[in-house]
């Protein structure tokens, strides 16, 4: 029952539950992209994109699939930006999206297992699989000549998959690889064990405002480790500034493209009224933008158009598109031209709708990050 002049886009993130603290920014970023498209006035002869939010809860597949069901069959969304956590993403994909032929682009589900999911061409993600990031992280450590580390990861599919990928690629000794549960009250036991195992650095594959932070804090308080190596989930300005003493000299990776895209994103979000530097905001913006662009490319408001054209608009050849340039992109598409969406995270899809993943290797200096290089 969607009006011809309106196209609904689902935004499904865990607004309640364990990652409730990062999802509002992600949703805002995605909606920012939609607003940008609407404001340009270039989209499919005046069709307005309307975001529809739903709660994935991050952990409850039943609630998430019910919500997805509602968005698809009742609200009539054409495509879904989401879900966030790998577990519910898989559930929504196989139970709702695939059966109904609705494409979904997740900004943050990074579990390697999703690469092999039966998706019938409906699943894309703007965040790269952790299989790749594990390799990148290992490479950086090798370059620095670090051969002995301890690893702690958040105890879910993301953390575990990430830690496995890292272990596979790391060319030294992992003294202890120990999970931590998010949302727990105290992490001194974990730090005690890791400190006892020792290592030149602690690799932290967790979430920036969850157990990952708790681990770094506990380690700093006891002086267990001096250097931390952080995965994407740890990236967050608040963490860096709050624990600037602890993190001085630490480094990490985050899916990120070279310069331009991210800078452009930072610029357009400056006055947006939310903290755009938090995790997965860039990927969320890109996911939403891609949905719009794919529809434009297909020339119609339909799920098929999105599914069929995403790879095309995301990859070369064509004019590179940065955040803030969606209007321009629509114009090019309207004229039948070709674009290569770069976006805030340097989108590049490889087979099966996987983001190729370009990573930024950063150092923490004085409570802020400094780019070392892009990989």
């Amino acid at each position: 029952e969607s009006h011809a002049s309106e196209a609904k886009i689902g935004i499904m993130l865990g607004f309640t539950g364990p990652i409730e603290s990062i999802t509002p920014m992600m949703a805002d970023s995605a909606e920012l992209a939609l607003t940008e498209v609407n404001d340009s006035g270039q989209f499919l002869s005046g069709v307005t994109l309307v975001p529809v939010r739903a709660d994935s809860t991050c952990v409850d597949p039943a609630a998430a699939t019910a919500a997805a069901e509602r968005m698809i069959t009742s609200d009539g969304i054409v495509a879904l930006m989401g879900a966030d956590c790998s577990g519910v993403t898989g559930a929504v994909l196989s139970n709702v999206a695939v059966p109904n032929g609705i494409p979904m682009i997740s900004p943050s589900a990074t579990s390697p297992a999703l690469s092999d999911a039966e998706d019938n061409g409906m699943f894309f993600r703007t965040a790269p699989s952790d299989a790749r990031q594990g390799a990148v992280l290992a490479e950086i450590l090798a370059e620095k000549g670090i051969t002995e580390v301890a690893v702690t990861y958040t105890n879910n599919d993301y953390g575990k998959g990430f830690a496995d990928a890292f272990a596979e690629n790391f060319d030294g000794t992992i003294t202890l690889s120990s999970p931590h549960d998010d949302g727990k009250a105290d992490y001194s036991a974990e730090i005690g064990a890791l400190a006892s195992a020792g290592g030149e650095a602690l690799v932290v594959l967790g979430y920036t405002d969850q157990g990952g932070k708790g681990m770094i804090q506990a380690s700093y308080d006891t002086g267990a480790f001096d250097t931390y190596v952080m995965g994407d989930g740890m990236y967050g300005d608040t963490l860096f500034s709050e624990l600037s003493d602890a993190l001085e000299g630490s480094y990490g990776t985050i899916p990120w493209a070279e310069g331009e895209g991210a800078d452009a994103f930072a610029k357009i979000t400056e006055g947006a009224g939310f903290d755009a530097s938090s995790s997965y905001t860039r990927e969320s913006y890109d996911a939403a933008a891609l949905i719009a662009l794919a529809m434009m490319k297909g020339g119609e408001v339909s799920s098929e158009a999105v599914a069929a054209n995403i790879m095309d608009v995301a990859n070369a050849p064509g004019e590179p598109i940065l955040p803030g340039e969606l209007g321009k992109a629509l114009e090019i598409l309207a004229e039948g031209g070709d674009i290569d969406y770069v976006g805030a995270s340097g989108v590049e899809f490889i087979g099966g709708g996987e983001a190729a993943g370009s990573y930024r290797h950063y150092n923490v200096v004085d409570g802020a990050t400094e780019t070392v290089e892009f990989k």
């Binding site: 309640t16 539950g17 364990p18 409730e20 603290s21 105890n155 202890l176 120990s178 999970p179 931590h180 549960d181 949302g183 727990k184 009250a185 105290d186 001194s188 036991a189 974990e190 730090i191 005690g192 064990a193 400190a195 006892s196 195992a197 020792g198 405002d209 969850q210 932070k213 708790g214 804090q217 506990a218 308080d221 006891t222 002086g223 267990a224 608040t238 709050e242 003493d245």
Partner: protein, 336 residues
């Protein structure tokens, strides 16, 4: 020297963290135990009330900080605690008036109160999130360390560091003060004794001229104090996040029950039992043994009894075992 290093490592990684965490749990468990002892039910809303109290304190802390008030090396939040307690007291008294009082008038069975407290838990849960959101918030300021691990190493020349945070010291000291004060209050003052009397036999308390509603009010006030202090100390030491506070409910209950529900001494003991079993039983002794043992015997493995992922399970195992052998908990649950 090695022996000293072993001791320092053990202190740094087990004793101090467990003491701190234990004190935080103990303060939380004291609140649970007071409600259980006097109002006769287990309050499932405890974790979320703790979050509420901390939230109010944080708001006041921000206010003071914006006025430029500070306590120097100590966290400003300490100054805000009384206001936090006042806010929480208002909230719990209002809840009591609107919700619990009705059931008291109906002479409802305690189990009904338990279920009502589940409802209150959901409501508080929503309220704190609506007011202050769900973010992780750090609100400690002032000096973070009394001595940091690095400074300790430099000062002593030992291989092992020993870190002691301001908040850890504050937590332990406050816990001791609060516990002593509570004991004195319950056992020596008239009001305290009247609370014990009410807890023992409501009708007879009435027949002795004790005003039951006053006892209930004082109980809630004390609980508001305990809960806010516990929440703020925890938040200062770690950080504030509603979800974590909700999760704290489990170890707090475990602590209160291991110790013997209804008994303040038990709550303290329980807090430490839970904290020490979480930290101690999963500790990898490699480092300590490495120092303490002669070279030849140094362990190659981690010498870890159980992986840390089972630490939470361990505390519950201990709980079950204690209950099997001492069904009333470590201390008989009867003092309050």
């Amino acid at each position: 020297m090695d022996f000293v290093n072993a001791i320092v490592a053990l202190t740094n990684f087990v004793l101090i963290p467990a003491m701190t965490y234990g004190s935080q749990l103990a303060l939380g468990a004291l609140g649970v135990t007071m409600i259980y002892g006097i109002l006769r039910f287990s309050n499932f809303a405890h974790g979320d009330t703790m979050a509420f109290g901390t939230m109010v304190t944080i708001l006041f802390t921000w206010l003071f900080q914006s006025w430029g008030i500070s306590l120097g090396p100590l966290p400003t939040a300490l100054l805000a605690i009384p206001f936090g307690i006042a806010g929480t007291a208002l909230m719990v008294l209002a809840t009591d008036r609107v919700v619990y009082r009705f059931y008291r008038a109906q002479k409802a069975k305690p189990i009904i109160f338990v279920m009502v407290s589940i409802g209150v838990m959901f409501v508080y849960n929503g309220v704190t999130r609506i007011i202050l959101g769900t973010d992780d918030i750090r609100f400690d300021d002032g000096e973070r360390f009394i001595i940091s691990a690095g400074d300790f190493k430099r000062a002593t020349g030992l291989a092992e560091g020993l870190g002691l945070k301001t908040t850890q010291a504050i937590t332990v000291i406050t816990a001791i003060i609060v516990v002593v004060a509570l004991f004195w209050f319950l056992n020596r003052t008239r009001t305290g004794k009247s609370m014990r009397a009410y807890s023992d036999n409501e009708d007879l308390a009435l027949l002795s001229g004790i005003n039951p509603e006053r006892v209930v009010m004082v109980t809630w006030l004390i609980v508001a104090g305990l809960i806010t202090i516990a929440g703020v100390l925890y938040g200062l030491d770690k950080s504030y996040k509603p979800f974590t506070y909700f999760q704290l409910l489990l170890p707090i209950f475990a602590a209160a029950i291991v110790g013997g529900l209804g008994n303040p001494l038990g709550a303290i003991a329980g807090g430490f039992v839970i904290a020490f079993s979480e930290v101690g039983l999963t500790y990898a002794w490699k480092k300590v043994l490495g120092y303490a043992m002669p070279e030849a015997l140094e362990p190659s493995g981690l010498v870890q009894l159980l992986a840390t992922e089972y630490k939470f399970a361990v505390s519950f195992m201990i709980l079950v075992v204690v209950l099997l052998f001492r069904p009333t908990g470590l201390f008989k649950g009867k003092s309050v």
